[in-house]
Symmetry: C2
Amino acid sequence: MTSRKREREALALADQLHSAAIHLLRHLRKEDDASGLSAPRLSALSVVVFGGPVTLGQLANAEQVKPPTMTRIVTGLEKDGLVRREGDARDGRLTKIHATPKGQKVLMAGRARRVELLASAVEGLSPTEVAELGRGAQLLRELIDSMRRAQ
Amino acid sequence: MTSRKREREALALADQLHSAAIHLLRHLRKEDDASGLSAPRLSALSVVVFGGPVTLGQLANAEQVKPPTMTRIVTGLEKDGLVRREGDARDGRLTKIHATPKGQKVLMAGRARRVELLASAVEGLSPTEVAELGRGAQLLRELIDSMRRAQ
DNA sequence: GTCTTATCGTTAGCACAGCTAACGATTTCG
DNA sequence: CGAAATCGTTAGCTGTGCTAACGATAAGAC
């Protein structure tokens, strides 16, 4: 008869994660604004930089967003010279998104800026707590993946 | 000379948390849409329901948002009959926000709906992992608090 | 080898969230 | 009483999310 208890824990956990995600993004967004990149653009750029050239559809899917939304995000990134569009030779319908050197540089700078904020906060934590937090982040990622597969 | 290593870990951790927060919110938003409440509205409503009557300014501060933004969020909630505005007797400049019974009901229903999604994902985790994830959420909250204090 | 259907990306148009600047109303303080 | 500060709102901008509709290209039917 632990299902009731687990359900209660899941409820509390869902609340905490939801709230934490909202507030974390609000704080990080301030730093990200310094690079002129919003969270969605930064996230999409990250996929392009680390995931190599991808089609717009793949990018939309990776970011869990509809194609029209991704079109505009990419347009914004392209206007800033961070990515460029390129047609696929084999399939004329596809648009491949490539990261420019500037895009790579800006992404790294944004990462560095963001981590400075978090790093100062992390300094108040013990190595054990850092490890625990890392473990939590890993579990959260797995959880999100399983939610995604369940759709 | 572990500072370099810790800095690298903090960088990776920041990335993971950032990405996880973005994707978690994207998934949960879909469920929240079922209640007709966006994440910011749900979050604000939660503060009003659990935090008793608060002024608009307090609410904006709690949600880390500027007053004009909160004005519109509250207006939306009020239009749906989830909260009501009430002037303060002592200080005419203040606007106290109260939760209506309907607001409380809708919030609870949203929580239940959201947890169903997370609960099914949580079922794939062991009790130990649930505890670890809870610990991570707690640390994350503390981290956010310290970031907030540091400003 | 057409012709139909499916897929991909874009455009158009809507709602909402975030911001700054400016303003009216109210309170507080000199 | 009059000046300054505080609170909330309005106006106007940018960006993100959606659906619906459309052109262009590819794939499949016949």
